[in-house]
């Protein structure tokens, strides 16, 4: 009797374990735990270790049969005291902020005009924004090199028009970096803004006009506040990845355009210093944590 009840219990427990709901939730949970959460915890762990010839030290040491945790803050101390890291973080944030602001200035009117164009051409306009997305990002960044170098397309055109005598040095400067960043991230700003502005209820503006508000005032008092969610979503989608950008500064930036993604890359690949690279990553995550929280909050609100 007892045997049967145990068997029943086990089989019902098993059934419960693999029933639809648990299965559907369990599979993605497992996937993301292993590939997204655990790796970040490992980065945190390694940032607190030190490099021992080819391996990183273990955090737990066994002394007299008792485990003792040994945390090593050397990497963080180094980041905190070395001026280069401080400057690099600051300049990464500055470049990311500049990219976000320039993208917003270009994208807001664009998305606004797009949302006001005739309904039947809007899908085409949207597809034309998405189309460059499908072409390799790397190739498009490379193309800017062809355009911006000293004997490149833009300088050649300007010189043949007689506007300039000598080529302007645009490559490997903060200017070329910003062009590449704005170029790559512009669609990420346009799309959420367009999604938001195309849903705007025109009756608010008509009501405002009826009540005697000038269109310019109505724009600032009604359209802009109502599109706040789009502005925030777009800004975060540009700002967060821009902080850690590696490819664009590597291809278009100069040696003096400091970006933290490059520092991380060099610590890892050139210096082989894993704890240092991890500490750089942890500090970067802390810096983008706040914008990410804002983004998630607004995403949740817009879904609700």
């Amino acid at each position: 009797m007892k045997n049967i009840s145990i068997r029943n219990n086990i089989s019902s427990a098993l059934r419960k374990l693999i029933d639809g709901r648990h299965f559907v939730i369990g599979v993605p949970y497992f996937w993301f735990l292993i590939l997204a959460l655990v790796p970040l915890l490992i980065v945190l762990k390694i940032s607190l270790s030190e490099m021992e010839s080819t391996e990183v030290s273990s955090l737990i040491e066994w002394a007299n049969g008792w485990p003792t945790v040994k945390l090593n803050f050397a990497s963080y101390m180094f980041i905190a005291t070395d001026a280069l890291y401080y400057q690099t973080y600051l300049s990464s944030l500055r470049y990311a902020l500049m990219t976000t602001v320039i993208c917003l200035i270009i994208a807001y009117p664009f998305a606004y005009f797009m949302a006001r164009s005739p309904k039947h051409i809007q899908p085409t306009l949207l597809m034309l924004i998405m189309l460059p997305f499908w072409t390799s990002f790397l190739l498009r960044i490379y193309a800017w090199k062809t355009l911006l170098v000293n004997n490149g397309v833009i300088n050649n055109i300007l010189m043949s028009l007689g506007l300039i005598q000598d080529p302007i040095a645009m490559m490997n400067t903060p200017f070329s970096l910003m062009v590449g960043m704005v170029y790559s991230y512009l669609p990420f700003m346009i799309l959420p803004l367009y999604a938001n502005l195309s849903k705007l209820d025109m009756r608010y503006l008509e009501a405002a006009a009826d009540l005697g508000t000038s269109p310019f005032k109505a724009f600032w008092l009604i359209t802009v506040p109502l599109s706040k969610a789009g502005i925030i979503a777009g800004s975060m989608l540009v700002f967060i990845p821009a902080v850690g950008e590696y490819v664009i500064p590597e291809l278009l930036g100069g040696s003096d355009t400091l970006m933290i993604g490059r520092v991380l890359w060099d610590e890892f690949f050139s210096n082989n210093d894993w704890p240092m690279a991890s500490a750089v990553a942890v500090v970067m995550i802390l810096l983008i944590m706040l914008p990410m929280a804002i983004y998630n909050k607004y995403q949740a609100e817009s879904k609700a």
Binding site: P39, V43, S136, D210, P215, G244
Partner: protein, 305 residues
């Protein structure tokens, strides 16, 4: 930003006495301004792509100076075995990664949409959006360190195709989740309920009702994740081992050294393929949409007979 709305402008013309500011800006000027603003942005977006294509037919060794038209870089491309094997590896990884991403992305989208309350739902949704916003270098570094620890304990996996694939699949799953979620949200839950009322088991509902309706979303998720994987250079550089160079890795290492006309030729080939694929898929989705509408209309007319 100086331009008021067209429709509110029309209204304010009626109330011209109330808002004299708008008198200065005519609707024609607004139209001109908005159209030229849009044109400039489109030129900005397409100029580099057009340049790539034009200069792929340039005979000169100097990649940015036009001499005369030739196909010599395409000929060079045909003989470039490093690049060709890299393209094949990229295609293989992109295909597998897109399959895996769509599979897990659909699961994630279902878990988050069909079950509104379960323990750790917030954790799942934030884990699923982390790869979307996290800088590539961090995703690459963290995955690599995880795989290295795994290898330390288990002796597996070796860095190579499999590890690159895992990285791309993680990124792809996050994007596929977004695509499938947006489709699930706009889908009519009445259909599911009707199927259940008619005695379908949950899995049958999924197989017979939900899945067929999801197909367009799955196709676009597949295309998107394929492109993401085919495009990625940072994750691949972290996760690949000796002998496994994807196409973007090869292009990146050449582009770092300077301009290289073979890259223009590769670019033109991929742009052509991508454009054809995008056009084909948009044709497919619009036909799908037409068919669906026709079927709905048919169903209604049958009902009214």
């Amino acid at each position: 930003m100086k331009t008021p709305l067209k429709s509110s402008l029309r209204l304010s013309e009626k109330h011209a006495t109330k808002s004299p500011v708008t008198m200065a800006v005519s609707p024609k000027m607004i139209k001109w301004f908005s159209q030229s603003w849009m044109l400039v942005v489109y030129v900005f977006l397409y100029m580099p792509i057009v340049t790539l294509v034009i200069f792929s037919f340039n005979d000169s060794q100097l990649a940015a100076v036009w001499s005369h038209a030739s196909l010599r870089w395409y000929a060079a491309l045909m003989k470039d075995n490093d690049l060709i094997s890299a393209v094949l590896l990229s295609l293989k990884i992109a295909f597998l990664s897109a399959l895996i991403s769509v599979f897990f992305g659909t699961f994630t989208a279902f878990a988050l949409n069909r079950y509104k309350r379960f323990q750790g739902r917030t954790l799942l949704s934030s884990m699923a959006s982390t790869p979307l916003v996290m800088p590539d270098v961090i995703v690459g570094l963290s995955l690599l360190l995880m795989l290295v620890s795994l290898q330390h304990w288990l002796g597996y996996p070796e860095r190579g195709l499999f590890t690159i694939l895992l990285g791309h699949a993680l990124l792809g799953t996050a994007y596929a989740t977004v695509v499938v979620t947006s489709r699930l949200r706009e889908m009519d839950s009445k259909l599911d309920e009707a199927a259940m009322d008619l005695g379908c088991q949950p899995f049958q509902v999924f197989r017979l009702v939900t899945l067929p309706l999801l197909v367009p979303a799955l196709v676009s998720a597949f295309l998107l994740t394929f492109t993401l994987s085919f495009d990625d250079v940072v994750l691949s550089s972290f996760l690949s081992g000796p002998g496994y160079s994807t196409m973007p890795m090869v292009i990146f290492s050449r582009a770092r050294l300077g301009l290289n006309p073979t890259i223009n030729a590769v670019a033109t080939v991929t742009i052509t393929v991508v454009t054809i694929a995008v056009l084909a898929s948009s044709f497919y989705t619009s036909r799908q949409e037409r068919n669906r509408k026709r079927e709905v209309a048919q169903a209604y007319s049958d009902m009214n007979k």
